[in-house]
């Protein structure tokens, strides 16, 4: 007959251990909650300012907050929160959120376009779960900077990747799926955005 394993002690032990560890995590989480939230909003503000091409490199949180208030104001349209972009009180463009499917999960961020909906001011990704070092490189500057001033006055296929020396953007080597999904959902979002601008904002 095999030796009977004790039951009571391990159960009590693991419950106690879980309780202690969970409690300590709860304390740490609670203490850091406010600061993490501040970091989170700061990050969103930085992303939006990046989308409209305002440099926040090396600026403090309060400076970023001031810049943000100066240039962007939140507005609502049909249940979507978007941002109006002002320069010296004159409206210059809009920042709209987008969300699309990447390789591993959804990719979300903001697209900034000018008032007429003819040019992209920039794009920024706020969250994604692409493979670090491959699809995750959509976060790198060289990739995002390509979208600045992209002509979207056409009717379709605004974002295309180039082969050899043809015009177009550079895709990410080794991350074909991510590059293509970004292309597809951006094209779709830009199309929707142009409709919104034409129908709802320019009446």
């Amino acid at each position: 007959m095999t030796k009977k394993r004790p039951i009571l002690h391990p159960v009590v032990f693991i419950m106690l251990l879980s309780a202690v560890l969970a409690f300590s995590l709860a304390v740490i989480q609670n203490v850091s909650k406010d600061q993490i939230e501040v970091n989170y909003y700061n990050d969103i503000q930085k992303s939006l300012l990046y989308a409209i091409d305002i440099d926040t490199e090396g600026k403090t949180k309060s400076e970023i907050n001031t810049l943000f208030k100066e240039h962007l104001s939140e507005a609502k349209l049909g249940g979507i929160n978007y941002y109006n972009y002002y320069e010296n009180g004159i409206i210059q463009g809009y920042c709209f959120p987008f969300i699309g499917d990447g390789l591993w999960g959804s990719i979300s961020g903001y697209i900034a376009v000018d008032v007429e909906g003819n040019n992209l001011l920039g794009i920024v990704f706020t969250s994604h779960s692409e493979t670090p070092g491959l699809g995750g490189r959509i976060d790198e500057l060289w990739y995002k900077e390509q979208f600045r001033g992209l002509d979207i006055s056409g009717i379709d296929n605004f974002v295309i990747y180039r082969l050899d020396d043809e015009p177009g953007l550079d895709a990410i080597t080794g991350a074909t799926t991510t590059s293509n999904s970004v292309k597809n959902f951006l094209n779709k979002s830009i199309l929707e955005l142009k409709d919104i601008i034409k129908e709802d904002l320019h009446e």
Binding site: H9, F13, S32, Q35, I36, S129, G133, L134, T173, G174
Partner: protein, 205 residues
Amino acid sequence: MNNTLTIFKERIVDNNPILSKTLGICSALAVTNSMENALVMSLGLIFVTSFAEMTVSMLRYHTDKHIRMMVQVLIIAWLVIIVDIVLKLYLPDISKALGPYVGLIITNCIIMGRCESYAQNNRPVSSFIDGIASGVAYSVILLIIAFFRELLGSGSLFGFSILGSKWNNWTAMTMPAGAFFMIGLLIWASNEYKKKKKKGGKLYD
């Protein structure tokens, strides 16, 4: 003190977890395309391995044998969440860049391997040292791989351009294949080194 040195030499040179046991190569492949990522990952791993080993060792007389793995996973997960919160709090940018890596520390087999084979049978202090040594052993390899991958693949180190614009990036190095080549070469080099050492010795061959 001598004992500490022996542990370090044993873990880093003679019995490196990556080179001799191919443990933990999932993250070694994933995070080594830039020095910065590799460094933060290394620091996170050193912290988690050392404290996990110490905690496991402190609880070793109270943990029944058949639940020890659950206890280890619980402790490791707890430490990884702490690392995650600390990064979010003090290094929000790096935390964002590392995103999924931090969670991946939990799945690093080096940590559980060391808890299981060392911390279960040793005192907390030496377990702590063993944890640091194992973490450093992992980090050294990670940084060596990242050094070559970032230098050859992107022409930079820690994001600073080193080789200039004339350098033609070896894209293969930034892809997973590049990590496999590097790890393969390192394992080969370490095996050659060990062979030589054995021949120089008296007993073997």
